[in-house]
């Protein structure tokens, strides 16, 4: 290997872990711990066992704070070109311990303060029970123990960086999955195989919904082994699959498609009615997310009133299929109603799209937000009650028939919902990779230049709104058939916001990202109903975390990753250079 100029020149000394930064993140950790106590999370989460009987979710959450800050504090700054790589060693642990200890100290101080002074009239969640949990029910000694554990937890967080990549991933993921399995007892115990063989459940889970010690060890060990073994192999296999050409490639795609279809066909049977219900709901949101992804992710039109289209779909199918539709009831079937749903959605898309054609960015967001509310209020209004039933909504929306089968329960609803998911995912890909998709993308990047390069902005925007509206309307129609009724209150602004969160977290513009985002963010809260009060706190935290650390989303589209990360440095360097060279001031 020949050395390039960069490699032969002297490297600058490495940028090491900074201890003053450890103090800063330690303070944040302390505040987080205070928040966990004060918000009532600790008390609610303490009711749920993760490892029975020694560890509750409450304490996991409390200890996650020092662990996270220890991890952050112990992490070396990114290696820049021209700098030596930092050494790993005692310093990482030290930084983690400092951050953890500081978190612990703040926590201890706060614990003592809330015992001495009574804040419960302001912070109503600071109950007697919370105060007990805060001290391990052991008074000042308990607080001290917890503070020490926090310091250790921080040190462990820092020490993670001493591990080689492969070990690090295996360790972190096994800890993560132990918590997840502890949390998702419902999920595991509903799976057919576990339902059948009760010994499995008894081995893994205690009486109080948490994992048994043995269960925790088994799960942790299995996950560890899997990550350790699979590290690198999955990626290599994917790369090999991607490199296939011609005939082989076609065969590979056909086989994986076949496997996926068989998997989806048996999935609801395996999961049982409760989990299918959860997946159905996630699927409905996924349909909306795929639609909004076209509007926002592809075309860059920030639509905050997207739920209106969902409502249009639900109400159209209600009018056309319900025998008690107040004004007019043709009693069509779902399938014959579909063309009308599509027409209604397209009309709604044009109706919303036309007035906002010349609006950009923030203005577009605000106006569409208004449209979303207008739609809900119209469906609710007394004036239109003869058509839409007002606050009483519309009832008796029939089941869906597919040939001899009747789609009437959560397991059978899985099929039409996910059939549409697959169809819409295909449509997204097909559109993205076409003249229309390129026009959307160009418009997203620079609207006036796109127009100057020949893109018909009016057509491109209206198509994005119309297609987005159709996706959402089909989602709404399926939702209406599934529930059997529609009420205006199902179409609140919160739905629009939730769908937007799904696609931002999943990865805007990326079909796999949106899919994973929708499944995870809709299904998880459904499985954790007991913590419903913290759902939006969870979304908010996740959103802030993603914006700071991974603005391109969980599974980004290639483009957005570039846009938001990789080439920033390069781009800035280029701008500086251009400014230097360009004698004429910029336009």
């Amino acid at each position: 290997m020949s050395l390039t100029a960069a490699e032969t020149t002297e490297l600058l000394p490495a940028r090491e872990v900074q201890l003053d930064r450890a103090v800063r993140v330690g303070l944040i950790g302390g505040l987080t711990a205070m928040f966990i106590v004060t918000s009532g999370m600790l008390e609610t989460f303490d009711l749920r066992m993760i490892v029975d009987p020694i560890l509750s979710l409450g304490y996991v959450t409390l200890m996650a704070a020092p662990f996270a800050v220890g991890y952050v504090a112990g992490k070396a700054p990114p290696v820049l070109e021209g700098y030596a790589a930092p050494s790993v060693g005692a310093r990482n642990v030290q930084a983690g311990a400092i951050a953890g200890a500081l978190t612990g100290a703040i926590y201890a101080l706060y614990a003592l303060i809330i015992h001495v002074l009574d804040f419960s009239s302001v912070f109503i969640k600071l109950t007697e029970q919370t105060k007990k949990i805060v001290t391990l029910d052991m008074g000042a000694g308990g607080v001290l123990i917890l503070a020490l554990v926090m310091a250790v937890s921080g040190a462990v967080g820092g020490a993670v960086h001493l591990l080689e990549r492969r070990w690090k991933r295996a360790v972190l993921y096994s800890a993560f999955w132990v918590v997840m399995f502890g949390l998702l007892e419902v999920l595991v115990s509903q799976i057919a195989f576990v339902r059948r063989i009760s010994a499995v459940k008894e081995l893994l889970y205690g009486t109080d919904a948490g994992l048994t010690l043995i269960g925790a060890v088994i799960i942790g060990g299995l996950v560890f082994a899997a990550y350790y073994y699979l590290d690198g192999r999955v990626r290599a296999a994917t790369r090999r699959a991607m490199a296939l050409e011609g005939q082989q490639r076609r065969r590979f795609i056909l086989i994986s498609l076949g496997v996926a279809i068989v998997f989806l066909a048996v999935l609801p049977q395996i999961l049982g009615p409760f989990l299918s219900e959860v997946l159905d709901l996630a699927g409905v949101f996924l349909l909306m997310a795929l639609g909004l992804n076209i509007v926002v992710g592809f075309a860059g039109l920030l639509d905050l009133g997207y739920v209106a289209f969902f409502a249009v779909g639900a109400y159209t199918t209600a009018i056309l299929t319900s025998p008690v539709s107040p004004k007019w009831s043709p009693e069509l079937s779902f399938w014959t109603a579909i063309p009308f749903i599509i027409l209604a959605a397209a009309a709604a898309g044009v109706m919303v799209g036309t007035p906002v054609l010349r609006l950009r960015g923030d203005y577009l967001a605000i106006v569409t937000l208004g449209f979303g509310e207008i739609a809900r209020i119209l469906f609710l209004s007394d004036a239109l009650k003869p058509y839409f039933g007002g606050a009483q909504g519309m009832l008796l929306i029939p089941d869906i028939d597919i040939g001899p089968f009747t789609i009437d329960d959560s397991i059978s609803f899985f099929y039409p919902i996910y059939a549409f998911v697959i169809l819409f995912a295909y449509l997204s890909y097909a559109l993205q990779d076409s003249r229309v998709g390129r026009a959307w993308m160009a418009m997203r990047e620079d609207e006036s230049v796109a127009e100057a390069m020949g893109v018909n902005i009016v057509a491109a925007k209206l198509w994005a709104f119309v297609i987005g509206a159709i996706f959402a309307a089909i989602g709404g129609a399926l939702f209406a058939h599934k529930i059997g009724s529609v009420f205006p209150e199902s179409f609140a602004i919160l739905v629009s916001i939730t769908v937007l969160v799904l696609i931002i977290v999943g990865g805007m513009g990326s079909v796999p990202g949106v899919t994973v985002g929708a499944l995870a963010l809709v299904a998880l809260p459904e499985l954790l109903r007991e913590f419903a009060e913290f759902k939006f706190l969870f979304y908010g935290t996740l959103l802030i975390f993603m914006m700071l650390n991974r603005p391109e989303g969980f599974i980004p589209s290639r483009r957005r990753a570039r846009e938001l990360h990789l080439d920033e440095v390069e781009q800035d360097a280029w701008l500086a250079q251009a400014a230097e060279q360009d004698p004429a001031p910029a336009e």
């Binding site: 229309v436 020949g454 060279q581």
Partner: protein, 261 residues
């Protein structure tokens, strides 16, 4: 007949007359340079004739058609394509895709073609891709091969300028409007662009209107030079003649050349 015919064109921003009763014409097959001090209204002139800014008054006839009230995409479809003084590519689209967007008005595939992947759709898509690559190969080896799939923002500054020209060429225009194509380039790159502008006409048959600050480029390529100052034409003619014109010398020397451009 002239390809582009402009009469008493005016555009004011507040009290500032960026374009002031401008008359000019461009004949088919010509290379015309538009020069003038910073803030003379050259870029505004391009913005107005490409429909990106509406003029206050005046008439623009392009290839026999009145451009009044047309949107920029319709004007592009008539055959007038431009580049921008401050390069405005689609930075996250690939080099090839940038040029493919340029072909938008010359292609027809719509939503249904894309969804159904009809033979017509595929053929057109292939053709668009081929044409884009062909256009890019006009710049030698600079924008071909692995560069096809690179995002535009990964390109060097000079290559971004080249890609902008390619994107405009992609629309099969009759008239190419180049806004300071050599700004920020080193002397060697500037020389190369000078040669290229000649080729744009001689090999590709485009009529070219060029805004340029570098007088060597202007001298090297122009059939005719138009000098703007305060939004009006103060001189017009072959380079040597214009360069001797006392009004032009005063416009350039009589006040500092660095204004708000």
């Amino acid at each position: 007949m002239a390809l582009l015919e402009i009469s008493s064109l005016s555009k004011a921003f507040g009290g500032l007359h960026a374009i002031d009763k401008l008359d000019l014409h461009v004949d088919r097959g010509e290379i015309v340079s538009v020069i003038g001090p910073n803030g003379a209204g050259k870029t505004t002139f391009f913005n107005v004739i490409t429909g990106m800014i509406t003029p206050d008054e005046g008439e623009i006839i392009f290839d026999g058609a009145d451009l009044a009230g047309l949107r920029p995409n319709q004007i592009l479809a008539l055959g007038m394509a431009r580049t921008f003084q401050n390069v405005r590519l689609f930075p996250n689209m690939t080099v090839r895709e940038n040029v493919m967007v340029g072909r938008h008005t010359r292609t027809k595939a719509g939503v249904f073609g894309a969804i159904l992947r009809t033979p017509a759709f595929r053929a057109e898509e292939e053709e668009t891709k081929r044409k884009a690559e062909e256009t890019l190969s006009f710049f030698g080896t600079r924008l071909v091969g692995y560069r096809f799939d690179q995002p535009a923002l990964n390109l060097s500054y000079a290559n971004r300028r080249r890609l902008e020209i390619a994107r405009a060429m992609g629309s099969d225009p009759q008239l190419l409007l180049l806004d300071e194509p050599t700004a920020g380039m080193n002397p060697r790159e500037t020389l190369e662009i000078t040669g290229l502008i000649g080729k744009l006409r001689d090999e590709k048959g485009f009529t070219v209107v060029l805004i340029e600050h570098d007088m060597r480029v202007v001298k090297g390529v122009s059939d005719r030079v138009i000098v703007l100052d305060h939004g009006s034409k103060i001189a017009e003619g072959p380079y040597d003649e214009v360069a001797q014109n006392p009004d032009v010398i005063e416009a350039y020397l009589g006040r500092p050349a660095t204004g708000t451009a």
